[in-house]
Structures are given as C-alpha cells and as structure tokens.
C-alpha cells in the first residue's frame, strides 16, 4: 500500500484501484455461484440419466423373465423416483421367432438452476430404453 508522507493518508489513485477490485469481486461472486450451480445441475442430469438407464435395464429384465413379469415397476427397480416417472413397455414380435420387449423410462429432471423446464416433458428429462428377448415360459 502506498501512503503519502507517512501520515496514514491513502493515495486516491490506490484507493480507487482497491475500490474497483472490490467491485469486480462482488460482481464476480454471483457469476461464480451460477457457474458452480450449472456444474451441479450437469452432474444431477448425468446422474438422472444413469439412473434411468439402470431402471430401464432392471424393468425389461423382470418383464422378460417368466417368474417376474407381473411385478409392479417401483418395487422391481427399487427406485422411488420411478413412481413419478413415465414407464412404457412395447412388445414386438420377432420375425425369426420370439418377441422383443423394450422398456422406456423417462425420469423428470431435478432442477437446480431456476428457470429450467421441469417435469417428464422437459427436454432435460432423462430418457433410457433397454430391449431384451422374451423368454419362452
């Protein structure tokens, strides 16, 4: 710090610079907060997607195995988020024999950044599908 004449009076130029730096810091803090929240939002979306993929895999596995076909979805996957998710099963006959079952899971995204669209219809919703062949019972 530069003082004039050693009497404890700060040079106006230095004071102005310090003020500008403080202002920059104060203005930068919200920006930093937004960046950190955006990173957390990205991580949450990735986690949702991984969860949707795991749920779809478990659901289709239980649907094609003879003994578990009628189990309710939330119990099957053990994931409470599935209660509010959109789960669809499609069954297509294979021309070579048998049938292919596809489970599609759409999980509503966890929104951390205000203003982003929520709900299963959101473009940020985690979508995953898994296909397996139905076992002959």
């Amino acid at each position: 710090m530069r003082r004039s004449g050693g009497r404890g009076v700060v040079d106006p130029a230095v004071r102005g610079q310090r003020g500008a730096e403080t202002l920059e810091l104060v203005a930068g803090l919200p920006l930093l907060g937004i960046v950190v929240t955006a990173l957390l939002q990205g991580a949450a979306l990735v986690e949702e997607h991984a969860r949707a993929a795991a749920d779809a895999r478990e659901l289709v596995r239980h649907r094609v195995v003879c003994d578990h076909r009628d189990a309710p979805p939330a119990v099957v996957a053990g994931d409470p988020a599935l209660r509010s998710a959109r789960v669809t099963f499609t069954r297509a006959a294979d021309p070579a024999g048998g049938a292919l079952v596809t489970a599609t899971v759409v999980l509503a995204p966890r929104i951390l950044l205000p203003g982003l669209p929520a709900g299963p219809e959101s473009p940020l919703a985690a979508r995953a599908a898994a296909t397996m062949r139905e076992e002959p019972c």
Binding site: V35, A50, A96, P136
Partner: protein, 171 residues
C-alpha cells in the same frame, strides 16, 4: 503517472485471469462431456452384451435341437464360432441371429459369439441340455470432440468404441 501505470497493469492482470478462468471452465466442461460419453457408452455396451447373451439363451430354450447341440459342445466338436466355423451345427445360427437382433435393438453390434458347455458338465456328472452363450458387443462411444477423428483414423480404437462381454446360461 506511476500510479496510473500500476492501475492499468492491475486491470490487465485481472482480465488475463478472467480469460484464463473462462478457458478453464470451457475445457473442464468439454472434458466432463467426454467422460460422460465414455461412461454412458460403457454402460450401454454392458446392457447390450447381457441382453444379447440372454437372447441367445432364450433362442436355445425354444430350439428343439439344443439338446443335441449341448452334447456336441461338451464333446468339443464345435464352439458355434460363427462365421469362422464352417461346419457348425444348425442350432448355432439362430442363436447368433437372435443375439445380433437384440444387440442391434440396444444400439450395439455383435463382434464375437461363442457357445460352450456349462461348467457343471465338466464335473463328474455331465448331462445334456445345458449351454452357456458368450457374446461380445461393441458400441460406438460418440465422443463429442473425437467423433470425426474416430470415424476417419481409428474406428476400432478402445477410446472410440466400448466393448463388453456377457454370458448367459440355458438349462
């Protein structure tokens, strides 16, 4: 004059710091995107391999010729290694086709298919009607940054494709 120069130097340093931080955030974001693509492709390939192996086992369960095939496999007369094996039993091809269909439905491709005897049949009491299907699949990772590089130069590289192997047992 000296103070003004110092002030300008300070502003330049903070701008440089801000620019560097911005680049760091950008590079970090892109890197995170690549990591997500890599792990997602790994998970997809594992799912596809498991589903393809299960499909082969389900096909064998519906095939009346599977009992005879299990005897052939135990005697090591075949491994249903198609298309390399030219004189493979007739029950091999439908199982492979079933695995390929399911792998394709999961966005993967079968790169290796094998049938073998159940480990229990290597014990003192072998019995017909038990087969293990082993399927290896490949999924393109679809990396955001390296997509073009993978398509042109290294289509089969480990970074460009995710490979997974799974087995399923029938009988």
């Amino acid at each position: 004059m000296l103070s003004r120069r110092r002030h300008l130097r300070g502003r330049g340093a903070s701008s440089l710091l801000l620019l560097g931080a911005s680049w760091l955030v950008l590079a970090g974001g892109l890197g995170a995107g690549e990591v997500v693509a890599v792990t997602a492709a790994d998970a997809r390939s594992e799912q596809a391999a498991a589903a393809a192996a299960h499909a082969a086992a389900a096909e064998l369960a519906a095939d009346p010729g599977a009992g005879a095939l299990s005897v052939e496999l135990q005697a090591a007369r075949t491994a249903c290694h198609l298309p390399e094996e030219t004189a493979a039993p007739a029950a091999c091809a439908p199982a492979r086709v079933a695995a390929q269909r399911v792998a394709r439905a999961n966005g993967a491709g079968v790169v290796d298919f094998l049938l073998g005897p159940d480990p229990r049949d290597r014990g003192p009491e072998p019995a017909p009607g038990r087969i293990v299907a082993v399927v290896t699949v490949e999924v393109e990772r679809g990396l955001p940054l390296l997509r073009r590089l993978c398509a042109r130069h290294r289509p089969g590289a480990a970074l460009c494709v995710a490979r997974a192997t799974a087995a399923a047992r029938w009988g």
